[in-house]
Amino acid sequence: MTGQYLAFFIFALMAITGGVFMINLSRVIHMVLSIGLSFFGVAGLFIMLQAEFLAFVQVLIYAGAITIMMAMGTMMTQGGDEGEKPKRRLHNVLSFLSAVLVGAFLLYGIYTTSWPTEPTDLGANNIKEIGVTLFSNFVIPFELASILLLVALVGAIVLAKRDGEKD
């Protein structure tokens, strides 16, 4: 039991500290890396929830692809003027307040609700089950998602392409 709790705390701490560092670090590349830490933490939480497949995907896409992509993006967009920006104190205060309030609401809700405590066993090998469900019940959303990805691919290329380049 304690081992499970320990693991949970470690992963949760990873996820949250990653997020907090992202907020507080000053250099963009550090921020990107710290969010990678957060993604790893979430992946760990997935494992604890018997969602191994998702944990794998999480590491692959978020911690791998997106973080790297963002790091690349950061490099591509460096060199912009980093002069003094006008301080938006009211904006920041309000943002902080609303973020805290939203969080407080959610936590209050979580705290006061009585949740089912018994976990359902999803089976040791639920990857197969995911595959079966995905290709039986959710085949149309799946295909749509593939189209979405295709569109995103084309769109990203078109958007990022330089103006006036013809090919």
Binding site: L94, S95, S98, L101, V102, F105
Partner: protein, 614 residues
């Protein structure tokens, strides 16, 4: 013949339509259209008159429904009675003379057909007014007469003075018409009709309260005051002399201005029912008579002198009617039409050849224009009331009527006015026709036959029209209109006084102007100045009515622009201000928008759970 009286106004209407449609092609031939139509009307009018004048003839009245609104029926029609049979003759005859005269007078004017079409329109309206059997129809044509008078005064539209005069005439009479309008509307709701006969019946049967009769009579009299140039609405009439002289003769001497008198005479039974109304009429008439005559004493414009004389004579008629001298008033209207038209036409003849209206620049015109001189003299004698001419008969009757009414002040007013009349007419005569020319005028010549013929005809009438009294004209007129016997006590001394007044005035004029024939060129002083400036009535109206009104208009304009418009602007400004405020929120930054969204979410959550949290 009586049933065909509707033909009388029809001919001028046809002429009007023809002239409007084909005037441009007809050119000066338009005169013949006008003259022929008027001749036809005159012939019918004469026929109608004699048929009505014959023994045992009755009034003829017929009408048709013009407008039905539910139970209300407004009719149109025509009526022949003593009064309007006489008026038909006067109007058609004077109008015919003026049509003839204008052929010569207006010769060469490029808007010759237009002039004739206006004349026809006027004659039509006037005749319709005269034969109206009800107040509504009378009011309608009363207004039309005013409009055609307006057109004719402003005939020389390119002259700013004519423009001003036309405007003034229309507006001043319009103020009076307001009185009629209110009066007849009130009468309509009390009696349910506009028919003369029904109204008289209501007035005498006691359906209408005496106060009501007084009120409506005075309101209607206000209209007559406006049209007949009575004090205090007389100001337009002298200015109306800006119109061509034949117009002045026709409209502003003989016919239209007499319409006010006619209306009072026509409604005499109504007026008679209220002593207050009668007194008002008499006083206004008397005041006008002396007031206008005194101004006429010193004016230097030949037409203006005649205009003031007209105002004064109309005041005479009103005074007579107000003093219950129905026959006297109407009779004077009859004779006055002829000699005043004659005087105007003669004056026009002079102006036509001399080229000015200022008597200071005339003198000795008589040598070159013998016919004009003679007819003018006849007219002047007639209006002065010299025995044997038309004016004498009617004026004497008026003096008797005022005396009989018991109002001594009015009587002496009338007598003084008579002296003044004789004086200013002969002042005019001496300064214009006798003596030597005060100004170089090479082309003074006698007018053509078209102009002299009507003058001669009118001169004959000015002499002899008074003698109709011996044919029982007075009794015939009064029959059925005046209930009581008219006190026909012959006051010889009044006759003597009136003759004395006439000769006194003439003699005084001779002493002052006949012998040395000079006009003082000095600035008028004192009383003379007051009279010369017409008692400053125009200026009085200018400062008490027109200026404040215009000022008020500008104040209101300011109000409209800045208060009402300002309110609108203010409303718009509020909308813009709200927009500005929103615009600042709309800063284009996604994060600000998201913040608002999330704030909104927070507020939503708060409000939804508020009760459960605490």
């Amino acid at each position: 013949m009586l049933a065909n009286a509707w033909l009388i106004p029809l001919f001028p209407l046809i002429s009007f339509v023809l002239l409007v449609a084909f005037g441009r092609q007809l050119k000066e031939g338009a005169a013949y259209v006008g003259i022929l139509s008027l001749l036809a009307s005159f012939v019918v009018a004469v026929g109608v008159f004699f048929e009505r004048f014959a023994e045992g003839a009755h009034d003829y009245i017929t009408s048709f429904d013009w407008l039905n609104i539910g139970d209300f029926v407004f009719t149109m029609g025509f009526e022949v009675n003593q009064l309007n049979a006489m008026m038909l003759i006067v109007v058609t005859l004077v109008s015919l003379m003026v049509h003839l005269y204008s052929k010569g007078y207006m010769h060469g004017d490029e808007r010759f057909p237009v002039f004739y079409s206006y004349l026809s329109l006027f004659t039509f309206s006037m005749l319709m007014l005269v034969i109206s059997p009800n107040l509504l129809q009378a009011y309608i044509f009363w207004e039309l007469v005013g409009a055609s008078s307006f057109l004719l005064i402003g005939f020389y539209f390119f002259k700013p003075s004519a423009r001003a005069a036309a405007k003034k005439a229309f507006l001043t009479t319009r103020v009076g018409d307001l009185g009629i309008f209110i009066g007849i509307s009130l009468l309509f709701w009390q009696t349910g009709t506009f028919e003369y006969a029904a109204i008289f019946e209501a007035a005498h049967s006691g359906v209408l309260s005496p106060e009501f009769i007084t009120l409506t009579s005075i309101l209607i009299f206000i209209g007559a005051v406006g049209k007949s140039g009575q004090f205090p609405l007389h100001i337009w009439l002298p200015d109306a002399m800006e119109g061509p002289t034949p117009v002045s003769a026709l409209i502003h001497a003989a016919t239209m201005v007499a319409a006010g008198v006619y209306l009072v005479a026509r409604l005499f039974p109504l007026f008679e029912a209220s002593a207050t109304a009668m007194l008002t009429v008499a006083i206004i008439g008397g005041v006008t008579a002396i007031f206008a005559a005194s101004i006429g004493l010193v004016q230097n414009d030949i037409k203006r002198v005649l205009a003031y004389s007209t105002v004064s004579q109309l005041g005479y008629m009103m005074m007579a009617l107000g003093s219950a001298g129905y026959v006297a008033g109407v009779f004077h209207l009859f004779t006055h039409a002829f000699f005043k038209a004659l005087l105007f036409l003669a004056a026009g003849s002079v102006i036509h050849s001399v080229g000015t209206q200022d008597i200071k620049e005339m003198g000795g015109v008589g040598k070159h224009m013998p016919i004009t001189k003679i007819v003018f003299l006849i007219g002047a004698l007639a209006i002065a009331g010299v025995p044997g001419l038309a004016g004498f008969f009617s004026k004497e009757e008026i003096l008797i009527a005022t005396y009989d009414s018991g109002n001594v002040v009015l009587f002496w007013l009338a007598l003084t006015a008579a002296v003044m009349t004789a004086f200013y007419m002969f002042r005019l005569y001496f300064l214009t026709f006798s003596g030597t020319p005060r100004h170089e005028n090479h082309h003074v010549h006698e007018s053509p036959i078209f102009m002299t013929l009507p003058m001669i005809i009118l001169a004959v009438l000015a002499i002899f029209s008074g003698y109709v009294v011996y044919a029982g004209f007075g009794e015939w007129l009064a029959h059925g209109v005046i209930s009581g016997e008219e006190g026909e006590g012959h006051h010889t001394w009044i006759m003597v006084l009136s003759i004395a007044a006439a000769f006194g005035g003439i003699g005084l004029a001779y002493l002052l102007y006949g012998r040395n024939n000079k006009v003082s060129t000095a600035e008028p002083k004192g009383l003379h100045k007051l009279l010369f400036n017409k008692y400053y009535v125009d200026e009085f109206y200018g400062t008490t009515v027109i200026k404040p009104y215009t000022l008020f208009g500008y104040v209101l304009k300011f109000f409209d622009k800045y208060v009402i418009g300002g309110l609108v602007q203010f409303t718009a400004w509020i909308a813009v201000a709200i927009g500005r405020l929103g615009q600042r929120l709309q800063n284009g930054q996604v994060q600000a928008y998201s913040l608002v969204t999330i704030l909104g979410l927070v507020i939503l959550l708060l409000s939804m759970t508020a009760g459960r949290l605490w």
